[in-house]
Symmetry: C2
């Protein structure tokens, strides 16, 4: 190849490399930007990372310089560090759950493994591998299958895995019992060191309690639900001439989408409730706090959110009811909505402060009264469907006449989205009643 022929190939490679490098820089920059925005939004998560770093450093320091532990050597520090990394979870409850699961499963599997070892040992040299093999096969299969059972899955999933692991290791290792006991002793002491340092750091330095997280999730979701209902109804009944700037519009849209958070938080609620039940007393929560009731409140909120989701499709409906009919129910609807949201907000405050509300009964009564008013407003609506020439009722006949002639379409179809929206508003009020009941149940526990 002549140098001149070489050049295009080289420049191609150079371009390709430049493209690759550019792409890589973009990916890394986007990654760092995301990380930064998360860190700014929730500094606790940064602290959480630093805590793990601290725990590992402490454990390794202990084994590096501690005169007490010199004897154990590299292998013990290995197990201590491994324990810290493996059991460290995003909240205290999950970490404790893993610790307890790991400990219980290790002892159970250890005892069982030693027993089977003893049996196999006394059964003769030929039978030994057969007995060990069959027992590993059976116990591992059974424990793995048990992980599919909902109760085991929710609470002892990790324990089942550790059971299989420990049992297999003991059976497979081929050590005699005396050696096994010595081996287990050094392993247990290093694991205990790891567990205790990990728990101390996770509980003492800015602890993230699963219970508090669940509590916060529930009352934040309730506020989001209230905001979302408010925004939807305001959007539906907003006057056409009104314009908003784009910044305000964005905020508004974000508020309106709040119900989606509620609809999607089932999995998070369940996992937090599962973790929370392992936690000791902390803050305002005792051990054995009725976390299950929080799940019920969450379910009742999702019921409401479903209704709001259906309501949003009325917003985008192309058919708009005539202005006079809209105005007829507008004020009453907005009043019902504001009463509904104030019930939700009062409930959120009740949960947040964990106090009994003195005004909730009045607020609920007001909401129910607003439902009545809205129903009355609907009842007085049908007279407007009647063509004006048939009207026999006295009163604001002029306005109604104008209203009826304005419409080119057949009347009921034209008011269908409005009637549906109003009916959904009433249904939402009924479901908010369900949320009130769930919260009151929690308060009475």
């Amino acid at each position: 190849l002549k140098p001149t022929e070489c050049r295009p190939a080289l420049s191609k490679i150079w371009l390709w490399l430049k493209g690759l490098l550019g792409g890589l820089i973009v990916v890394v920059r986007r990654f760092l930007e995301t990380a930064w925005s998360i860190a700014v939004a929730e500094p606790r998560k940064v602290v959480h990372g630093l805590k793990l770093g601290l725990a590992i450093s402490l454990v390794s320091l202990l084994y590096y310089i501690g005169p007490l532990f010199k004897g154990f050597g590299g292998n013990a520090s290995l197990w201590a560090v491994m324990t810290v990394v493996v059991i460290y979870e995003s909240n205290v409850g999950a970490t404790l759950c893993k610790c307890i699961n790991r400990t219980a499963a290790t002892f159970l599997a250890g005892g069982l493994g030693l027993g089977i070892h003893w049996v196999a040992d006394h059964a003769g040299e030929k039978a030994e591998p057969v007995i060990l093999g069959i027992s590993v096969f059976l116990f591992a299969s059974a424990a793995t299958f048990s992980r599919f059972m909902p109760m085991v899955k929710a609470r002892f999933d990790y324990g089942a895995m550790i059971f299989v692991l420990t049992f297999s290791l003991i059976s497979v290792s081929g050590y005699r019992e005396e050696m096994l006991l010595k081996f287990a002793g050094s392993r247990l002491s290093s694991i205990a060191t790891g567990v205790s340092i990990c728990i101390l750091i996770i509980v003492l330095i800015c602890p993230i309690w699963a219970g508090s997280e669940l509590h916060r999730l529930i009352h934040q979701n309730m506020e989001k639900l209230a905001d979302s209902l408010d925004a939807c109804v305001a959007e539906y009944f907003k006057e056409d001439g009104k314009t908003t700037d784009s910044k305000e519009d964005q905020d508004y849209n974000k508020k309106m989408q709040g119900y989606k958070c509620v609809l999607n938080s089932k999995a998070a609620e369940e996992s937090l409730a599962n973790s929370a039940r392992w936690e000791p007393s902390h803050g305002m929560f005792n051990f054995g706090h009725p976390w299950k009731q929080y799940l019920k409140i969450g379910a009742s909120m999702r019921n409401c959110a479903c209704c709001i989701e259906t309501l949003t499709s009325c917003l985008s409906s192309e058919i708009q009811a005539p202005t006079c009919i809209r105005n007829h129910v507008r004020d009453v609807s907005i009043r019902l909505c504001s009463h509904s949201t104030s019930v939700l907000k009062e409930l959120a405050t009740t949960i947040k402060t964990m106090t009994k509300s003195s005004t909730i009964d009045i607020l609920v009564a007001e909401m129910n009264f607003a439902v009545q008013e809205l129903q009355n407003a609907l009842n007085s609506l049908p007279s407007q469907f009647i063509p004006p020439e048939l009207m026999t009722v006295e009163g604001s006949a002029d306005a109604k006449g104008e209203c009826a002639t304005e419409s080119g379409m057949p009347p009921l179809l034209e008011v269908l989205p409005l009637v549906t929206a109003v009916s959904l508003l009433i249904e939402i009020a009924v479901r908010i009643g369900g949320v009130v009941d769930a919260v009151e149940d929690l308060a009475s526990l």
Copy 2:
């Protein structure tokens, strides 16, 4: 104590023991019953458990009798067994994801750890522990924090943990590089043995593919949605005199609750889609199959399910529309519902067989026509609100007159649940249109 005084205390203890034993037996029996029912319902789960038993037995057998591996001794078999237990997941995709994560993270952390070891080694004896400590602290914190980022959480969560683990182990171990390399060599070969046996067994014997599971979940959910819609509408418009036996009723209720499965399957869908993207070609699916589109179909189905959920509250409404008005929309509503469900069922078949449907366009057109018919039926409804003495329209005046006088309540409030239900049926048809679009997008990919 005299023997006679002793007796009541003894019998108390005996009673307590008996109670404890009885309770234990009940718990164990219930546990076994649940296990049995799961095993009968899904024998694949039993096979899944047996496969893990087989993998562990094979690995330990290999180290127990294989002449090739005799040199490694107990420690190597320990790592191989541990690898099998830890990476074994409930489907192929999740297992592969763990394998790839584990391998990549181990190499990355190993390389980085060796590099830092080299730097620390050349920095002098005093600086060494400081450099090692700081690097462990920083990298462990950063990797743990990165697990909070959604992208890392979804795909590389396990990898980040293994990165922290390996990096800390190498930094803490205190070995020199030559020893580390030898140590790493034996470890890697045993891990590779574990991984390959595990993958072979999980792929070759009754594999559970995450992709197929997701596919099955989606078309089964679609059928459930159709059944649920069908059952709800039939329940709403059922004739009062009709009685059903309790067995039939139970089946019916179960069908009606189908929409709840759809509402709650978001988490399962996402985790399966995350696993499926790691899977190679299998069955009808290639590598790079558009699994994301399945999530979109799932979301559009949840939209429908939300509407059905709202519809169920119309079922339990105390206010019932007068029979004549009900009959007026009954047939058309049932027709719309049957067209909607046949669209859903056709979509389910399309997905199931992965073929383009020739009839879907016709079915959608029929559904839209039924929507039109229902809207027309609603349009002809308002004349029935007019008190009979004002009626000027000829025709079935008798029936309408009877209908209007029958009602004690003001008319609109009385038909409100009916109008809402009909409006929701129309909305459901619109949302089914969204599902059709999502499925067509999948077919075109």
